[in-house]
């Protein structure tokens, strides 16, 4: 069973808010959800919409064919009518003139009735999330206006909801983060806000400096003093941080960088999603120095990989880059697996206050004093390389790739990051195997053997040039000819992706 509900209206009409309320209500009724959020960079007006996909089985994507459109304005009907299934339903604002800002809640009431649920769960969620007495009256009014159509039963599944951003913040808190430095930039801001909200409770500090250059240099300073430190930004801000990344490479001060991508170049499509920044994650910052680049594909992995990023940077004095994008950061996912063990992030190095400890952006000797001695230059460079080998070895103890789908299929799909949900859902029940790359640097040796064992290999990425494909070619010498690349800033929908995958097999 699977349904897709589109909730649309103008920015400021509470679209995302009510979508979250609907998702939570459905989860509390035992259904798995995926809540996709689509909005332009407009504070008031425009057309915002969410697609809440629901199922009685785990899902992590939305689909193109819509069962119910909830329209808070006329534009939503005009724009999205064509996506509606033949027997689809429109629940529209017109039924509730006079409810003002509570129209969204009234429509949520109508939806819950149409789906066939009791309105008690919805009422409790609304009460907790909207401090407005009239909202419960509004949802009752909406509820009573409809009759049940889908007749869904309450299921006995224990599910919670988490966005990618919340998961990253949680992972950081599990790792005992001390300081987070960030300048506002969509879609990275979610993590800053999550961490900032409970900073006193969690005993950490979130600081907004005058820009990203300051953020990364402050972060290096704080980490040097002994704080478990992370910075967060998106492409443009990350570019500004590049020189700081390079200082990390020389000084070997532990640092975790969260890079949440959106489509570029430049300001691009600021509120949309793209996997266009893998290469800057891998290579930005001048000079040659080790780093870790890891790209989780869902909130569960995000929590785990943030922790690994902290663990590895502290253990090796290394740069860990956690690569995400708007689709992972701002979508809401069903969470149902148990929390895994957290790796301890312990600061054991000598820190200022304990004695003289000096680190330098210059090539330096054992005391941290600048040197131009060629022998020391070689030794230090060799040590940077050795460190990367040690990191690689340690990473082999972690999950660097994952395999989904039919284990013995000869049709291999390769992807990374936020495309995971759509791919896993698209290949469900089909003759495909999916190789998800989590560690981009270092990279698992198993990728090569998986590719060699397959008959058809299809690369799936949301970017223009297939950056993971290029990286795999660099590491394995193997070129992936079949590619499905999407670069309109919108994520894959699993039903469309399934068609594309099947078409690729035929081509």
């Amino acid at each position: 069973m699977r349904l897709n509900i589109l909730i649309g209206g103008k920015a400021g009409q509470g679209i995302n808010k009510v979508s979250g309320i609907i998702a939570e209500t459905l989860v509390k009724n035992g259904y798995y959800i995926f809540n996709y959020r689509d909005y332009p960079s407009i504070i008031r007006g425009g057309n915002n919409f969410n697609i809440v996909s629901i199922s009685d089985r785990p899902i992590a994507s939305h689909e193109s064919a819509i069962d119910v459109v909830i329209a808070l304005d006329e534009d939503t009907i005009k724009i999205h009518k064509s996506s509606l299934k033949k027997d689809g339903l429109i629940l529209a604002y017109k039924d509730f003139s006079g409810l003002g800002l509570n129209t969204n809640v009234a429509l949520a009431g109508s939806l819950i009735k149409v789906l066939g649920f009791d309105n008690k769960v919805l009422a409790s969620v609304v009460k907790a999330k909207i401090k407005n007495k009239l909202s419960v009256d509004a949802l009752t009014e909406g509820y009573n206006k409809q009759t049940s159509k889908f007749n869904l039963k309450v299921l006995n599944n224990q599910i919670s909801i988490l966005s990618g951003s919340s998961a990253i913040a949680k992972g950081a808190i599990n790792s005992k983060i001390d300081m987070y430095f960030a300048y506002p930039m969509t879609p990275a801001t979610g993590v800053s806000e999550m961490l900032a909200k409970d900073q006193l409770k969690n005993n950490c500090l979130v600081f907004q400096p005058e820009g990203e250059i300051s953020a990364i240099n402050m972060a290096l300073g704080a980490s040097f003093s002994g704080a478990r430190t992370m910075v967060g930004t998106s492409g443009g801000g990350y570019d500004l941080m590049s020189e700081g990344l390079s200082l990390q490479g020389m000084s070997q001060i532990p640092l975790v960088v969260y890079l949440a991508s959106r489509p570029g170049p430049a300001t691009g499509l600021p509120t949309y999603s793209m996997q266009g920044d893998l290469e800057i994650a891998l290579r930005s910052g001048h000079g040659e120095f080790p780093r870790i680049v890891v790209a989780p594909g869902d909130p569960d992995e995000a929590m785990e990989k943030v922790n690994e990023a902290f663990y590895l940077s502290e253990k090796f004095g290394a740069l860990s880059i956690l690569l995400s994008d708007k689709h992972l950061a701002e979508s809401e996912f069903s969470l149902f697996s148990k929390n895994k063990k957290t790796l301890p992030v312990v600061v054991k190095r000598l820190i200022p206050g304990q004695g003289v400890v000096k680190v330098s952006g210059y090539e330096s000797d054992a005391d941290g004093l600048a040197t131009e001695d060629p022998k020391i230059a070689i030794k230090n460079a060799d040590n940077r390389l050795k460190k990367y080998q040690a990191i690689k070895k340690e990473c082999q103890k972690l999950e660097m790739i994952k395999i989904y789908g039919k284990a013995d299929s000869k049709n291999l799909v390769i992807g990374w990051g936020s495309t995971k949900g759509a791919i896993v859902d698209a290949i469900d029940g089909e003759d495909f195997k999916f190789l998800q790359v989590l560690y981009m640097m270092p990279m698992s040796n198993q990728i090569k053997s998986e590719i060699l064992a397959a008959k058809n290999v299809i690369l799936v990425e949301t970017n223009l040039t297939g950056q993971l494909g290029r990286l795999i070619r660099e590491k394995t010498g193997l070129k992936i000819e079949k590619r499905i690349l999407k670069y309109d800033g919108r994520p894959f929908k699993s039903d469309e992706l399934k068609q594309e995958l099947l078409n690729k097999l035929k081509s």
Partner: protein, 281 residues
């Protein structure tokens, strides 16, 4: 390394030009630290961030903890160090090119944020390590290989700027005057909040035109001044030529809550006398 005379020195060979006032600034800084340790400061708690330029080499010669930061970024690096452990006594050594060209935003925002640390800017009105180009405090007409037609800009007045941006301690020294510089350095470090100390220095190789201005300098009497009075005093010197009076000493000192007094997390660290690294969570 702790014998008198060599206290706070490292074994690194000093590579400043013979006669460069940077040697003297190092000595003032060293004496400041010695004096503060005598007064009970913990020598392990001193830490620094240095910019990139001739001035920055002090990093290798002063034996305290720190980061030899990126060009223009010593200020945010030091603010981070301070937030990482607010019990540290942070010194920033930066240059005029470093601070007012590459790192200007950080200078202004440090005045606003008011972190409890001290910024020393060695102002030789030249990018010296890159062989003498004009900085934001160079005089108009200053010619270099990069600007053979001469610099067209008027110099910035950093004292005036710092005061306008909200710095809570603003002072000026003459690099050649070890003892006065030491006194000002000490007062700046003791001040709670962001302290800015401009150290006027000659460069013995580049932009010689602005050198030899000691005769124009006079020491401000110690006094509590209003911002208005301090701003007026800041205008006595225009950085352009060797005319006019050059006031030295503390222009303005008016404590207000510093960054580590505002953030409850940092107050907690100070009360516990630890940095984040020593905090049990």
């Amino acid at each position: 390394m702790d014998k008198p005379g060599v206290q706070f020195r490292t074994n690194q060979k000093i590579t400043w030009c013979p006669g460069c006032p940077d040697h003297i600034i190092l000595e003032s800084a060293r004496r400041t630290l010695i004096s503060l340790v005598e007064q009970g400061y913990n020598k392990n708690n001193f830490a620094m961030a240095a910019g990139i330029g001739c001035h920055g080499k002090i990093f290798d010669y002063l034996n305290i903890s720190g980061i030899y930061a990126l060009h223009g970024r010593a200020i945010p690096t030091a603010i981070g160090m301070k937030m990482g452990n607010p019990n540290l006594e942070l010194l920033v050594f930066a240059g005029d090119g470093d601070t007012y060209a590459e790192g200007m935003a950080h200078f202004i925002h440090a005045c606003r944020f008011n972190p409890d640390l001290t910024l020393f800017v060695n102002d030789n009105q030249s990018f010296s390590l890159t062989t003498g180009q004009a900085t934001p405090t160079s005089q108009p007409g200053f010619k270099s290989n990069l600007e053979p037609l001469g610099n067209f800009n008027s110099p910035l007045n950093p004292i005036h700027l710092a005061l306008s941006a909200g710095a809570s301690f603003v002072a000026r020294c003459n690099a050649n005057d070890i003892e006065h510089t030491r006194m000002v350095m000490e007062a700046a470090i003791k001040h709670k909040g962001f302290s800015f100390v401009e150290i006027l220095q000659d460069c013995v190789v580049f932009n010689l035109y602005v050198n030899n201005k000691d005769r124009l300098m006079y020491k401000l009497p110690e006094a509590k001044r209003t911002l208005k009075k301090a701003l007026a005093l800041s205008q006595e010197y225009d950085y352009i030529n060797n005319k006019g009076k050059i006031p030295l000493g503390i222009f303005y000192a008016q404590p207000r809550p510093s960054l580590d007094e505002e953030w409850p997390q940092l107050v907690n660290l100070k009360n516990k006398k630890v940095g984040w690294g020593g905090l049990k969570k």
